[in-house]
């Protein structure tokens, strides 16, 4: 199972999906597009543990984190 983690005021919301399941995969891709369209940044970790920014939906990413647009505080 892969997980999309969306940060919010409750800590986060988690959406799990099976990359082998076409319906769940389409749902996850739609969620990715909606969130990034709203200005969320998506990030994943490489096999070496490095943080990488994800520009397009990656069905092989085990865990993707989304955080809202950054602003100067």
């Amino acid at each position: 199972m892969a997980t999309q983690i969306v940060m919010d005021h409750t800590g986060d919301r988690r959406h799990q999906f099976d990359p082998q399941n076409a319906f769940e995969l389409a749902d996850a891709e739609k969620r990715f597009r909606e969130l990034t369209g709203k200005g969320f940044t998506a990030a994943a970790r490489s096999a070496a543990g490095e943080t990488i920014k994800v520009a397009s939906f990656d069905p092989t990413a085990e865990e993707t984190v989304f955080f809202p647009r950054l602003v100067g505080g």
């Binding site: 955080f67 950054l70 100067g72 505080g73």
Partner: protein
């Protein structure tokens, strides 16, 4: 609350009730937004960052474009400092994700931003002189 009082009054075994109440309290603490944010952050830190965070409640990040070192403190605003080679603060930055996020989430967003798109994050950040107590 009334439910808990009824259990307590009718309970033939107050120590067991106390244990159950303590368990509820622990579960609530573990599931609080702050704890969830902290847990997520800890999972995403490198081994070195995690050790630093557990010991001092802050961790260091190397900027992906300039290789400068930044220190991210456990807070939700003005909590990022640029450090010189000796580890002294040079500048304080404030850039945060929109929305009312908990400290762990804010820190993770700042870490990801500095490690993947450092200059863009700094460009939108407000800049301050580092606080005197952190200069020492």
């Amino acid at each position: 609350m009334g439910f808990l009082l009824r259990i307590w009054r009718g309970s033939p075994d107050p120590p067991r009730f106390c244990a159950v109440r303590q368990l509820y309290r622990i579960v609530n603490i573990i599931n609080s937004p702050e704890a969830r944010g902290r847990g997520l952050l800890r999972r995403w830190l490198s081994e070195r960052q995690l050790a630093q965070f557990d010991a001092f409640n802050f961790f260091d990040v190397i900027g992906c474009q300039t290789a400068k070192r930044y220190r991210i403190y456990y807070a939700t605003a003005a909590n990022v400092e640029e450090l010189d080679k000796g580890g002294h603060p040079l500048m304080r930055y404030c850039f945060v994700p929109t929305g009312d996020l908990v400290p762990g989430d804010v820190m993770l967003a700042q870490k990801i931003a500095l490690e993947t798109d450092e200059l863009a994050a700094l460009e939108l950040a407000n800049k301050f002189q580092p606080s005197p107590q952190r200069l020492a």
